[in-house]
Symmetry: C2
Subunit: 98 residues, 2 copies
């Protein structure tokens, strides 16, 4: 049983999706699309690769607005990327800290 202090705060998992904006070149997606075509999967039209970011943080009142500023200031480059806060869910299981 985990008895450290953070076990008493309610922990949330924040899920954020970062996408390369439409019209912006996505070299990683292009490379994967080429690999599909090389495998004979010729009907794929497009592949876009973005980021899945999961943050484990104690639930607080101002969390939603803090997440917005994190997305704008640290997690995405607004010039070429868009972000979507997909969910904020309570978690009971703490991830391993690594």
């Amino acid at each position: 049983m985990n008895q450290n202090s953070s076990a008493t705060a309610s922990l949330s998992r924040v899920t954020i999706l970062i996408r390369v904006r439409e019209g912006i070149l996505d070299p990683q997606g292009q490379a994967v699309l080429q690999a599909f075509h090389d495998m004979g999967e010729n009907d794929l039209f497009s592949v876009r690769i973005g980021k899945l970011i999961e943050i484990y943080v104690p639930q607080t009142d101002a969390l939603k607005s803090r997440i917005e500023s994190w997305c704008q200031e640290l997690l995405s480059n607004p010039l070429v990327e868009s972000y979507e806060i997909q969910g904020i869910e309570p978690v009971t299981h703490q991830p391993m800290s690594m």
Copy 2:
């Protein structure tokens, strides 16, 4: 039977999430966590960074099983990553092919 006129076929967007398995080191997530701490955001417990993959492909009967094999063979490294097929949705808007 694969008909090659993809303009008439119904296009789907397949959304796949790739996560670094729990217990496996995630240097990118650690770097972002450190950046948060440097910004004074000290209550964050953990940050994990995975991939968001969006594939645009014509809807076919065998699509679901094809996606499974794509995930296993090309999109994830099963030793250190897990995948989740989050959704297969019809799209009317075709992304720019770049």
